[in-house]
């Protein structure tokens, strides 16, 4: 199955965030609890952690890029050989986030 990771509405009043650092590259397998990406708001770093296992397949944003809340950051799949559809996929990757 294909999953998308979108910018979470993590901080009230923040409509747009900057990608700080990815903790993996296409092919990296994540388990629940693993840190996937750090996002930066005007005052905080949002740590986005996997809420399920999955394989990172495509990055749709690079460190330093800006993305609005709800826009896709990356695409994941259950198996490494699943074809990635042209669109974003329907399912959201389960995530947990922590604001530091």
């Amino acid at each position: 199955m294909i999953y998308k990771l979108s910018v979470p509405a993590a901080v009230p009043g923040v409509d747009e965030i900057r990608i700080l650092e990815w903790q993996g590259t296409p092919g990296t397998a994540f388990e629940a609890g693993d840190l996937i990406v750090e996002l930066e708001t005007h005052k905080a770093v949002v740590e986005v952690r996997a809420g399920q296992s999955g394989i990172l397949r495509e990055l749709r944003a690079e460190p330093g890029d800006w993305r609005g809340v709800g826009l896709v950051l990356a695409v994941f799949s259950d198996r490494a050989d699943e074809a990635i559809p042209a669109g974003d996929g329907d399912a959201d990757l389960k995530v947990e986030f922590e604001i530091t």
Partner: protein, 329 residues
């Protein structure tokens, strides 16, 4: 990085615009100092001094106790003896503790000494309601506009935050530089080249033909939101961002009102003796009476209750209603 309109720029936050202006000026002039609560290793309450302590050290980036009068007093004294301090007062509400050194000493020093001494101090502070209650939410900029010798600026974009701060740090007299809490989460493009925004130059944020809205700070965004709603109702509003309240650029407002024929002033502070009252009076002095409506906070303290806070502060719906009433619609 991007290159909109042929000018290379980078999208950054307000705090980063502050840091960039300060870093450039501190590198260029060893007499630029920072004083304030938590400005040192902590990097500022809003991270607006991030990295400066590491680069410039404790002698130039000095933490002060919770003593606003003393902090501004020390800043004014240091300015009179040849330094260029920026004093950070986290909340504008507490600026009033430092009015004596700021108003009686810094703003008057050039006059009192026949021009022999100046106090090139910048007091950076943060205004606005953002869920922090009666004594951490006020917009008091209109109080400051009536002080001869004091300059007052209030950016609404990171580019202006950078450019106005650069000009403030080169200014010869005291400047109060006012950020707004609600603007901090909103990034914006800032030119990569060194840029100064001169004081006393307003800017048209949106052109229109039926009514002029003159405003500043976070209310620029409310005005633009209202203008978008009005556009759908067939009313074309021109939005002017004053940017600099003292000196005030009345010419840009007058040019706009001579085209639109009507003025709305919009501020988050109180309307009595407010920024809008001053804009309207100066406009009438130069072009005669025109239809005018003023919008500001209701005459009550900004509440600690979020529902009442929202009820007190102008929003786009209030601006739209006021403009329809003014235009007799």
């Amino acid at each position: 990085m991007s290159a909109d309109h042929g000018v290379a720029s980078t999208k950054i936050y307000f705090r980063e615009a502050n840091v960039r202006a300060l870093r450039e000026e501190m590198r260029q002039n060893p007499r630029v100092l920072i004083l304030g609560q938590d400005v040192g290793a902590f990097g500022g309450s809003y991270r607006e001094f991030d990295g400066l302590y590491r680069e410039f050290g404790a002698a130039r980036v000095r933490d002060t106790p919770v003593a606003e009068a003393a902090s501004i007093g020390i800043g004014v004294g240091a300015a009179a003896s040849g330094f260029r301090p920026l004093v950070c007062i986290t909340y504008m509400d507490f600026l009033m503790l430092g009015f004596d050194p700021l108003i009686n000493y810094a703003a008057k020093l050039r006059y009192k000494t026949g021009g022999l001494l100046t106090a090139p101090v910048v007091v950076k502070t943060t205004a606005g309601a953002f869920g922090q209650g009666v004594a951490h939410s006020q917009c008091l900029e209109a109080w400051l506009m009536s002080v001869p010798g004091l300059r007052v600026v209030a950016p609404s974009t990171p580019a202006d935050a950078y450019g106005l701060m650069k000009t403030a740090l080169r200014s010869d007299g005291p400047v109060v530089y006012i950020d707004h809490k609600r603007l901090f989460p909103i990034p914006g493009e800032v030119p990569d080249a060194e840029t100064f925004i001169p004081f006393g130059q307003a800017v048209v944020r949106k052109s229109g033909s039926d009514v002029t809205v003159a405003t500043h700070g976070f209310m620029v965004r409310i005005a633009l939101e209202a203008a978008l709603i009005l556009e759908g109702e067939g009313v074309s509003a021109e939005v002017i961002d004053l940017r600099s309240l003292a000196p005030l650029d009345i010419n840009t407002v007058a040019q706009s009102v001579s085209k639109t024929g009507a003025l709305v002033t919009l501020e988050e502070g109180q309307t009595t003796c407010g920024v809008g009252a001053e804009v309207a009076a100066r406009l009438y002095e130069c072009m005669g009476m025109r239809p005018w409506a003023r919008i500001g906070a209701l005459p009550a303290p900004v509440s600690s209750n979020p529902v009442l806070e929202a009820a007190t502060i102008p929003d786009a719906a209030r601006v739209v209603t006021a403009i329809h009433l003014l235009l007799g619609q």
